[in-house]
């Protein structure tokens, strides 16, 4: 497989996963905006969404103070925002076109149809009430592509690069989503354990399509402790940090077997997985959730960087 092809495949799935993150963030923002505010007004919540998506500076430059309608546009349709849903879908499709021969017709079809639909959506008049539909569209489109990959792609090296893109990006994304809690709660630490706190954790679970799964897995009372365990340390949760690292490790191992060599990126992931797996939730809370997540996101960025030297 051409190195360029491997790199493109890796980025196709990163962009798709990132499109999904942006949609999930929008959903969190939308839901949080529906509830009585935690004291500082909805503006604060929307700003936190912007920071988590890494879009705060770009947004400020273009629009100034946060305003729901502008933020929604900036995060969904705006091609000036490199992480908007529209940008991610377009780039994923561009990358797919460049490696057209490495994708099955079904995967390409799912990708290309998504892109055509997106262009259609961009033409329709925007209205805040459409937001949930747009988020649903993004999630289902990403799932469709994912499904086409799982059921039609040849499971060779390309399949591993696609999956590495998914899991490395998803690990980053879950960490970022969790970090919203830090931003939203920061102004009022006293709110911990309150109604609002409970509602925010629930919103996070919902945004990760994990609300019901969480109930099944833990039962009883929903506590921050349990939710954090679920999203960070529970390998059974498909969006948890540990799950993503575990799956990435497996794909690295497959590559090692096929290419007959280890790589730096592989070792970095294995190390991060072992370190994270050895932690307890209490430890993480003591260290500070935000500090833990900031460190984690930096590690993931370093792994992404080392993919280039290791394979491309």
């Amino acid at each position: 497989m051409l190195s360029r092809t491997a790199q493109n495949l890796f980025w196709i799935s990163r962009y798709m996963e990132r499109a999904e993150l942006t949609a999930r963030l929008l959903e969190v923002g939308y839901r949080i905006a529906l509830m009585p505010s935690a004291g500082t007004g909805y503006q604060n919540e929307w700003s936190s969404i912007l920071s988590v998506s890494g879009a705060d500076i770009g947004y400020k430059k273009k629009y100034g103070p946060p305003k729901q309608e502008h933020i929604e546009h900036y995060l969904f349709h705006d091609l000036d925002n490199p992480n908007s849903v529209a940008s991610c879908v377009s780039k994923a499709r561009e990358n797919s076109r460049a490696v057209r021969t490495a994708l099955t017709t079904q995967v390409w079809d799912a990708m290309n149809t998504g892109y055509q639909e997106l262009k259609q959506l961009a033409k329709e008049r925007y209205n805040t009430a459409n937001l949930p539909a747009l988020c649903d569209w993004t999630k289902s489109r990403v799932s469709l592509i994912r499904g086409a990959i799982e059921s039609t792609q040849l499971q060779d090296e390309g399949y591993d690069f696609l999956n590495l893109g998914y899991f490395i990006e998803r690990a980053d994304n879950t960490a970022r989503l969790l970090d919203i809690k830090y931003y939203v709660l920061l102004p009022t630490p006293a709110a911990v354990g309150s109604e609002v706190d409970h509602y925010q954790w629930s919103t996070l679970l919902r945004a990760m399509s994990a609300y019901r799964a969480f109930r099944w897995a833990y039962g009883g009372l929903q506590t921050p402790h349990k939710v954090a365990h679920f999203l960070i340390l529970n390998v059974a949760c498909p969006r948890s940090l540990l799950h993503c690292l575990d799956r990435a490790t497996r794909h690295f191992d497959r590559l090692e077997h096929m290419l007959q060599r280890q790589s730096e990126a592989q070792q970095m992931v294995a190390k991060l997985k072992n370190n994270t797996g050895a932690m307890e939730v209490d430890e993480i809370f003591q260290q500070g959730l935000h500090e833990f997540l900031t460190h984690f996101v930096a590690e993931i960025a370093a792994i992404g960087e080392s993919m280039r030297a290791s394979y491309f």
């Binding site: 497989m1 076109r97 057209r100």
Partner: protein, 463 residues
Amino acid sequence: MFDNEEVREPYRQVIDWVHSMPADLVAMKHSEAEKLFRRIGITFVTYGNNDDAERLIPFDMVPRILTAREWRKIESGVRQRARALNSFLLDVYGKGEIVRAGKIPASLVYKNPAYEHEAVGFQPPQGIFGHIIGTDIVRTGADEFFVLEDNCRTPSGVSYMLENREIMMRMFPNLFQKNRVAPIEDYPEILRRTLLSVAPAKCDGEPKIAVLTPGAMNSAYYEHSFLADMMGVELVEGQDLFVEGDLVYMRTIRGPERVDVLYRRVDDDFIDPLCFRSDSMLGVPGLMNAYRAGGITICSAPGVGVADDKAIYTYVPEMIRFYLGEEPVLNNVPTYRCSQEEDLKYVLDRVEELVVKRVHGSGGYGMLVGPTSTKQQIERFTEELKAEPEDFIAQPTLALSTTPTYVEQQLVPRHVDLRPFCLVGKSTYVCPGGLTRVAMKEGSLVVNSSQGGGVKDTWVLVE
């Protein structure tokens, strides 16, 4: 629109079939076809059109039909030209006998911008320069076919030929049950075998093929990826290749991997920045050295363009007589060479009746169709013609044949041309069919997709 008298026999069934379908069903099928094309991603990119950079070529669902007898003539004519053109190329990069015999002016060959000095004296594997040739043919009467031009460099359109058929078979299976249509789906496999048969001297073992594309922004990118995919070979860009010693390698996740045969869809000027345009980002430095050292076969061979030049074209009948000792099966369109004084005078006297073309232009650009042009267009073009007459040829406007075409919910006659594809390796193959391009505008003779032309499936009936 069509009296039965006017419509040739093979079309009657198809027309009856279109008429037997309720109008809304026809319209639905039509839009279904468009959707399929867009979904599969069969689009082409037009340069400098940012609005909707990826456009769809209009697809007409009424097939173009050729009988077995008609096809026999086309096929043998195309085959004959392919042989003559390859003999010509081998000759002009070797001894130049045709020039010495005074059949073609030396300056036209050796001073031609498409004549590649880097290719002189090198004999490619099997002596073949043009491996893939697309011959543009028009019809003017029952048995009158004329060749408009030969395309030896990187003729495109074969992916449309194949996909048009796929889509027709998917949408109208019962039409194929009623008619016996020669299959074309072997084309990619025969292309692969053709490329394998011209492996270079230094290749040991099973030759490795790759398709070289300028990249996803190229107008024919879909075709490049389609062919690579159908052949099961890598689609590479210049940046994926490098030369070491006399050999060419791809950069892969397993390390360097050798390439033996390169089906390139990049023009001569861009394939090697060391030999040709040093600003080219599309090529591979050192590729020509490896080629001349027998480390890689480049298909079509560098320098092939001198054979499909529009000025050389007028001499193809001479080539056929000179190399093969045969009379041309397919005639050229009578052509005036504006480089010659009498011809130029003739052309200038009646520009408004003629089609005038730039010798080195392509894709319907740099061309004037006299009868459909305005006075100003003619005047402007005449100025250009007078300034550099040797850059132009002129041809009479032919009474091109028309075929039934579905436009605005009815069948109307539209002008068509035909590009069959010929593959030349150890053996020669002409795919039974080709790309039919159709001018969608009433009366228009310009079928180029860059000028709004459409495409049709092309049927060769089996006896």
